[in-house]
């Protein structure tokens, strides 16, 4: 009886089984809207503002484009391309390279901590926008940590939870309305900035607070900040891409959404910060457009944070269901969403200071995400040659070739540690201390490359001898298929 009541399409949409091409709801534009809605939020303006601290607008625009395109492409190749092809949940797919327990570990590191932090930061961004709005329309004195900011931040988290609890269809509707409006608003902001300052005048402006005398170091830090922004999508976009109709639809919208739309927002933030000397959009929006435009723009930007929160919360909950298997899979979707939102709401209420550490937090995430991207690319493109065996992926843990060593792949984890360590050696996000290598190739690129090379090399040397991972031999055309059935889930 109960078995007949199960909607397997809905289960797949909210769980870890592969979505069939006929079930996927997002075409090119829907995924573009989702991507844009994810990308455009206060964080885009703040990253642009942070770029203005290190370099002038001309170098800043170059750093935004270079950093974002490289970070976004490397993040999408390692996530959207495989998840878009097979419709698999991103962290289930990750079992093929990290093992089932290794995938859980990566989920905890890259999603649980980071998403809870991001939800709190975005909630506070929403709260500050509402506080700024209130200050514009009344005599209310704004306070970055005042009761209005905290109450509005908590409200944003509750609103996010309500939309996500209703599932991807409501997310699609929300994105389709908000994303185009945000692009128009950013275009108007750009127009207003350029109508008050000539392009040549803006391009000649200096950095707001360059930390080093060496122009090259400042430029590379600006590139690194933006590359960190590009890589920061790694934990989220795979699970959004699996909802798009095919692999091409899972890839190209990223170039429009999380690259172009994010870059546009960052350029607006950069120019506004350089021209007005303040990177906080709640301050410069009214300076640029006056009270009426400031109120409208701030209102939209406030809700832009909510669309970003919705998208990252949805992908995190889908991943969460593979973390503890049956127990979480049987738990109601709405309850899971509500429980996940408790910690971010507490952070908003009791540790609002997290907002001020936003920029350092972002760059630290790149030390992890760049290494994860390198391992993903080496594994999927070069070791598995873009062919996954879903039977292996969903086999019971004890029988799966992806069990590696007690569910962990020591090779991938070693590569992750080496990539992370290389990043911090080349560039310390906390102190900005850097090496000569950093001034030529940033820190994310060597971290990504080194993690990929270590994973590829050690897998070729060790994995086949140890019988790990069912990798095809170097000269074999296809993957080895173990005759496994899918009667069990590997996360049982």
């Amino acid at each position: 009886m109960a078995t007949h009541d199960i909607d397997h399409g809905l289960e797949a949409e909210r769980g870890d089984t592969p979505l069939l091409p006929t079930e996927r709801m997002w075409g090119f534009w829907e995924f573009t809207y989702a991507n844009s809605a994810l990308a455009i939020a206060t964080w885009a303006f703040l990253i642009g503002g942070a770029t203005a601290l290190f370099v002038g607008p001309r170098e800043g625009i170059a750093a935004i484009v270079i950093g974002n395109i490289l970070g976004v492409l490397l993040a999408t190749f390692s996530t959207c391309v495989p998840c878009g092809k097979y419709g698999t949940e991103q962290f289930t797919f990750l079992r093929s390279m990290f093992g089932s327990n290794g995938s859980r570990l990566v989920y905890v590191l890259a999603v649980v901590f980071l998403t809870m932090g991001w939800l709190a930061v975005l909630g506070l961004m929403f709260g500050r926008s509402i506080d700024g709005l209130s200050g514009l329309v009344s005599a209310h004195q704004t306070d970055p940590n005042g009761w209005l900011v905290l109450a509005s931040g908590t409200f944003a988290i509750v609103l996010t939870a309500i939309v996500v609890a209703k599932g991807p269809t409501s997310i699609k509707v929300f994105n389709t309305i908000v994303a185009p409006a945000l692009v128009v608003i950013m275009g108007v902001m750009l127009y207003l900035i350029l109508s008050q300052h000539s392009f040549a005048e803006l391009m000649a402006l200096p950095a707001l607070d360059a930390p080093f005398d060496d122009k090259r170091v400042n430029f590379m830090i600006a590139v690194e900040v933006n590359m960190a922004a590009g890589f920061s999508w790694w934990p989220y976009i795979g699970n959004l891409a699996r909802l798009s109709k095919n692999q091409r639809t899972a890839f190209w919208p990223n170039v429009i959404g999380i690259f172009a739309a994010a870059a546009l927002g960052e350029v607006v933030g950069l120019l506004a910060a350089a021209a007005l000397g303040n990177s906080d959009p709640t301050v410069w929006m009214t300076h640029i457009g006056g009270i009426v435009f400031g109120v409208i723009a701030l209102g939209f930007v406030a809700f832009a944070n909510v669309t970003s929160m919705i998208n990252i919360l949805y992908t995190s909950i889908v991943g969460l269901r593979q973390l503890a298997g049956k127990k979480l899979r049987d738990m109601r979707w709405t309850l899971l969403v509500a429980l996940f939102c408790v910690v971010p709401a507490l952070i908003v209420c009791f540790a609002p200071g997290i907002y001020d550490g936003f920029f350092i937090f972002l760059v630290w995430t790149s030390a992890l995400n760049s290494a994860l991207a390198g391992i993903g690319i080496a594994d999927y493109f070069f070791l598995r040659r873009q062919r996954m065996n879903l039977r292996h992926l969903y086999a019971a843990e004890a029988q799966s070739p992806y069990r590696y060593w007690k569910g962990f792949n020591p090779i991938a984890l070693t590569a992750l540690v080496i990539g992370f360590g290389a990043y911090v050696l080349v560039f310390n996000p906390q102190t900005l201390a850097n090496t000569t290598l950093f001034t030529f190739v940033t820190a994310s690129l060597p971290s990504c490359l080194l993690a990929g090379i270590v994973h590829y090399g050690l897998t070729r040397v060790l994995a086949q001898r140890l019988g790990w991972g069912a990798y095809p031999s170097r000269h074999a055309g296809t993957t080895r298929t173990l005759d496994l059935d899918s009667r069990s889930y590997s996360n049982d």
Partner: protein, 57 residues
């Protein structure tokens, strides 16, 4: 009831895996990124990185 639900899920998973195995047997994967896509991505990246580096720095 739980084991019934698990059995139904396993059957559904098997059906999904078979769909992809059938697609894997085909000559072409519908909607897959092609060589033209990869060339376009490479050229776009080179133009953006080199172009903006020369313009901005």
């Amino acid at each position: 009831m739980n084991s019934q639900a698990e059995h139904a899920r396993a059957q559904d998973l098997e059906r999904r895996i078979r769909v992809y195995e059938e697609m894997e047997k085909g000559e072409q994967w519908p909607g897959a990124l092609s060589a033209a896509d990869y060339i376009a991505i490479t050229l776009m990246t080179l133009v953006l990185v080199v172009g903006f580096y020369l313009w901005g720095y």
